[in-house]
């Protein structure tokens, strides 16, 4: 395989002072390499330590989520899409649910919308913490890895308290959310908000001026705004290039237009800028969470009233996750035949959604997460396409890596934060 990466040097010219170009080497990085965020494979063509060609190869985690949704009811779709980008489950659920709600022409009650925003922002913090942890590990800062996962564990405890599950919650449902906050959840979130700012300062004191961290990130993996837009890159990577693009502000959903928050940007367009943006975004998310907690003082319904759309069953968090509440089971099994018939019809057949198509974007921790949902009027989706930001952002790896060192490839992939569950779906 020939490749003209330094056309100015003629390898046969005996008078050239530069060393002649040696034969290049093609190596596989991954799919089981520990720094590839799962099962990403990079085909690298190297000249010494320099990458002259790079091709990301994906698909190792393809699970057919999109095809599966076509064989399940609309409500069951939530449990499938939540597994795509497994570090941002609330965002997957929210994008899908908003799309279906737009097809149905309904809107979730106010309290449900606030809860959606609350959990999305907590999820954004959790996702950025995992990013910090894994990136730290990949670039040699192992203590940051332990710290990031430690704080994320507190968030997962909050998620478990509210939804019964640590990941893949299926919490956001068509017409609202599955459950209101349990007693004690607000206090747990308050405690977390008290704790986190000090911890973020701790991460920054470990990293911001750390010579190794700066050396490995600053000026590495530069992606200009123009290239990012052409390659479809969104999220922190685009904002690090100075483009203030955020779906939450530009095309608000779930009442984001009523929250106060800033869209963080940097001008450096490099890996270090993306690090700074994620640290600041955690602070912005905390601001939004505080506003959500204020609004949650008002009680209210968390699921739409319409019995033709709302999930009939009343759920409770038990020791083994969410399940039907014993009182509801007693109601349908012993008290009301009509309730049993209604429950059976809704659970087995589900809702019918008017024919049509929508594209619903939301701002996930990695960028624009879009759901293109098509209905043919039946009780199952006709087509669900997940526009996952990781999938699109990965296309930018060759642009950022070619001409750089192999070690920079690690920093570049870390700074993009691709989640292969979302890439391969």
């Amino acid at each position: 395989m020939s490749f003209d990466f330094r056309p100015d040097i003629d390898p046969r010219d005996p008078l050239s002072t530069e060393e002649p170009r040696q034969e290049t080497m093609i190596i596989n990085m991954g799919p089981q390499h520990p720094s590839t965020h799962g099962v990403l494979r990079l085909l690298l063509e190297l000249d010494g330590e320099t990458v002259i060609r790079c091709e990301p190869i994906v698909g190792y985690l393809h699970t057919g989520i999109e095809k599966n949704t076509e064989y399940r009811t609309w409500q069951q779709g939530v449990t499938f899409v939540t597994r795509a980008d497994y570090l941002a489950p609330f965002f997957n659920e929210l994008a899908y649910t908003l799309a279906v709600e737009r097809l149905l022409g309904i809107e979730a009650p106010l309290r449900a919308q606030v809860l959606r925003v609350l959990f999305c922002e907590l999820n954004r913090i959790a996702s950025h913490l995992v990013w910090l942890a894994t990136s730290g590990m990949e670039l040699g800062a192992v203590s940051v890895m332990l710290f990031g996962f430690r704080e994320r564990e507190d968030l997962l405890d909050i998620f478990e308290m509210a939804t019964g599950l640590r990941m893949n919650h299926a919490y956001v449902r068509i017409g609202g959310v599955v459950l209101d906050l349990p007693p004690g959840a607000t206090d747990a979130i308050d405690d977390f908000l008290d704790m986190l700012p000090g911890r973020i300062r701790e991460y920054e004191s470990l990293l911001s001026k750390n010579p190794i961290w700066v050396e490995r990130n600053a000026g590495v993996g530069i992606l200009s705004a123009e290239d990012a837009i052409a390659l479809g890159v969104t999220g922190p990577t685009l904002r690090a290039a100075g483009v203030a693009k955020d779906v939450r502000r530009d095309e608000p959903y779930s009442g984001y237009e009523t929250y106060e928050f800033d869209v963080i940007t940097r001008e450096s367009a490099d890996c270090y800028g993306r690090f700074e943006i994620r640290m600041d975004e955690m602070r912005e998310s905390m601001r939004i969470v505080e506003q959500c907690l204020d609004r949650l003082r008002e009680p209210g319904p968390v699921m739409i009233e319409d019995p033709k759309v709302a999930w009939p069953s009343r759920l409770e968090v038990g020791p083994d996750g969410i399940g039907n509440s014993p009182a509801y089971v007693k109601h349908i099994m012993e008290e009301s035949m009509e309730a049993l018939i209604h429950h059976f019809k809704m659970v087995t057949e589900g809702v019918r959604v008017p024919a049509g198509e929508v594209y619903q974007p939301v701002e996930s921790p990695r960028g624009e997460l879009g759901m293109y949902v098509v209905s043919d009027g039946e009780h199952r989706p006709y087509r669900v396409r997940i526009r996952d930001p990781s999938f699109v952002n990965l296309q930018a790896v060759p642009t950022m890596v070619q001409g750089a060192l192999v070690a920079d490839a690690i920093a570049v992939i870390a700074s993009l934060d691709p989640i292969m569950g979302g890439v391969d779906r």
Binding site: V58, G59, H62, G64, E66, K67, N68, Y71, R102, L103, G105, I229, A230, L231, G232, V233, V243, K245, D250, E251, G356, E357, V358, Y359, P361, E368, G370, Y372, V374, Y382, R383, R385, R387, F391, V392, L394, Q395, D424, R425
Partner: protein, 166 residues
């Protein structure tokens, strides 16, 4: 720009425009696709310079059978437009938009992989999610779920409803 104004503006060049649920959808012939995208991008009031997504749907009983959908948005104006192209069942190919929008590269590969729609002029039209030797295009409605050949020691796992006790 709100949907109605946007639709009015798009209609000056692309006659077939529908507004539904606040979204504007324009339908074009495949021969006009590149011209339409070029115009949508260069028109100052529209400035659709960002391609979010390319995907398809399959309607085996209808004509045209495939619809390829392009989700466009504008960095400057924050509005969106869907461009759709219908393709007949026996002639499912259309020009690649990679020269205009490099991001379409992987989207088109995915659409080719899952639907078998060919994008003419694509620089590297290979499967992306499935292995290179895969037979069929699984998101077509004619492809059943399950029944995948595992290619491991000749094993074949039949579809769920056709499994029998060993």
């Amino acid at each position: 720009m709100i949907a109605a104004e946007l639709a009015e503006r798009v209609r000056t060049h692309l006659p077939d425009v529908v507004v539904a649920r606040g979204e504007v959808t324009a339908v074009v012939e495949r021969d006009d696709l590149l011209g339409a995208l070029g115009w949508l991008r260069s028109d100052e009031a529209l400035a659709f310079d960002f391609l979010s997504s390319v995907t398809a749907t399959d309607w085996p009983e209808r004509e045209p059978r495939y619809w390829v959908a392009y989700e466009l948005s504008s960095m400057a104006h924050d509005h969106r437009l869907r461009l759709k192209v219908g393709l007949p069942a026996d002639d499912a190919h259309l020009p690649s938009v990679v020269p205009l929008f490099p991001t379409a590269d992987w989207h088109e590969r995915e659409t080719y992989d899952l639907y078998g729609i060919v994008f003419d002029g694509h620089p590297n039209l290979r499967r992306i999610l499935l292995p290179d030797g895969w037979e069929g295009h699984p998101l077509r409605k004619t492809e059943e779920i399950g029944g995948v050949n595992t290619r491991y020691k000749g094993a074949f796992i039949p579809p769920v409803d056709r499994r029998t006790a060993p």
